[in-house]
Amino acid sequence: MSVLQALDIGLAFLVFAVAAWTIFARGGFAATVGYVVYGLLLSLVWIRLFAVDVALTEAAIGSGVTGVLLIGAAARLRGAETEADEKSLRGLPRLFIAGLCVLVALALAAVVLLFPDSGPSLAPQAMRHLPETGLGNPVTAVLIAYRAFDTMLEKAVLVLAVVGVWSLAADRYWGGAPGEARAERPEPTLAFLAQVLAPLGILVGIHIFWVGADEPGGAFQGGAILAAMWMIVMMARLTEAPRTSAFWLRLALVAGPLVFLIAGVGGAIFAGRFFAYPPGFAKPAILFIEAFMVLSIAVALPMLVAGPPRREPRADRSR
C-alpha cells in the first residue's frame, strides 16, 4: 500500500509540474505539447480514482483529440506570439492576480479536505434502478437513462459548435471542404500507419462502444476512437475532408441528437414520460440510440478539429 501511496504522490507532483509547464512555458508550441502529456497523466489519475470510464474519455478526448486540435493551432500560430508578449502583465497587477489565484486554490483545497471520507452518494440509487435499464455499467445508465436529457442536449451542443466553427468560413468557401487542398502524394509513412491502424482502430472503437453497456466504455469513448481513426486517415491524405454541404455529413452529424430526441418523444408516447424507456425494451433502445451517438461523435470531433471550410465548393464537385 505504501508503494502505491508513493506512486500517487509522485503522480500528483508530476501532474502539477506538467500543468505548470503548460501555463508558464515561454513558447506556445512547447506549452501545447506539455498539455498533451498532461492529459495522459490525468487519465492515470482517473484510473487511481477508480473512474475508468472517465480515464478513457480523458485519454481519448481530453488529451488525444484536444491535443491534435491545439497542436495544429499552435503550429500555425508559431510566428504570431512575439508581439503579444510585450503586453503581458507585469508588476503589481500580476502579483495581485497571482495572489487571487492562490487564494482560490487554497480555499478550494480547504473545502476539499473538509469533505467527509464517505460523502453523500447516489451510487445506491443508481444501482437499485440498474436492472430497469438492462445495463451493467452504471455510468452508461446515468448517461443514457437517468440523465438522458443532459446527454441529448450535450450532443446538441456539439452540433451547435460545429455550426459555430463552420460559420467562421469565408462566404465563398461555404459548403466546401475544410482543410487545405494539397496535391502532394500522401506521406508514405503516415499512410502506412493509417492503413494498418484504421481497420484495427475501428474494431476497437466499436468494441469499446459495445462493451460500454456492461463494462467501462461507451458511446463517447468508442466514438472518440472512431473519430481519431478518421482523423489519421485524413492526415495521411488517404482521403479528404468531405464537403460541409454534403447531406450525408450533416445527417451523420445530427443523427445522434436527433435519434435521441425522437426516442425521448417516443418515451412520452410509449412509456408515459419524455426520455423514459418502455419496461423490458430499455436495453435495445439504449444501444440503438448509442449507435447513432457513436456515429455523430465520430463525425463531429474530426469536423471540429478540421475547422471552417477552406476550399471552394465548386472545385470539389468537379472531382
Binding site: 509513412t189 502506412f192 500507419l193 494498418v196
Partner: protein, 96 residues
C-alpha cells in the same frame, strides 16, 4: 516467492532500466537523430520486457492478447513517429 514472480520482477525491472536509459539518452545525446535512436530502441525493448513480465500474470488468454496488442500498437506508433521525426530532422539539416 515463486519462480513466476521472480521472472516478472526481473523482466519488468529490466524494462524499467531500458526506459530510464532511453530517457537519459534523450536528454544527454547531442543531436536529434541519436536522441531518436536512444529513445526508440530503449522504448521498444523496455515496453517489450514489461509486457513479457506481465504476461504470466494475465487473468485470461484474452487479457494476455490485449497486452501483446498494446505492445504491437506502440511499436507501430513508435516506428511511424520515429520515421516522421527523422525526416523532419534531416530536412532541417544538422541544426536540430
Amino acid at each position: 516467492m515463486s519462480l513466476v514472480d521472480l521472472f516478472s520482477i526481473v523482466a519488468i525491472g529490466a524494462g524499467v532500466f531500458f526506459f530510464l536509459a532511453g530517457t537519459v539518452g534523450l536528454l544527454r545525446f547531442p543531436d536529434g537523430l541519436s536522441r531518436l535512436h536512444a529513445l526508440t530502441k530503449a522504448d521498444n525493448l523496455g515496453l517489450g520486457l514489461i509486457v513479457l513480465g506481465l504476461l504470466p500474470r494475465a487473468e485470461s488468454p484474452l487479457a494476455a492478447f490485449k497486452l501483446v496488442a498494446i505492445w504491437a500498437l506502440v511499436q507501430l506508433a513508435g516506428a511511424t513517429t520515429a520515421q516522421l521525426v527523422g525526416r523532419a530532422v534531416r530536412r532541417k539539416g544538422t541544426a536540430a
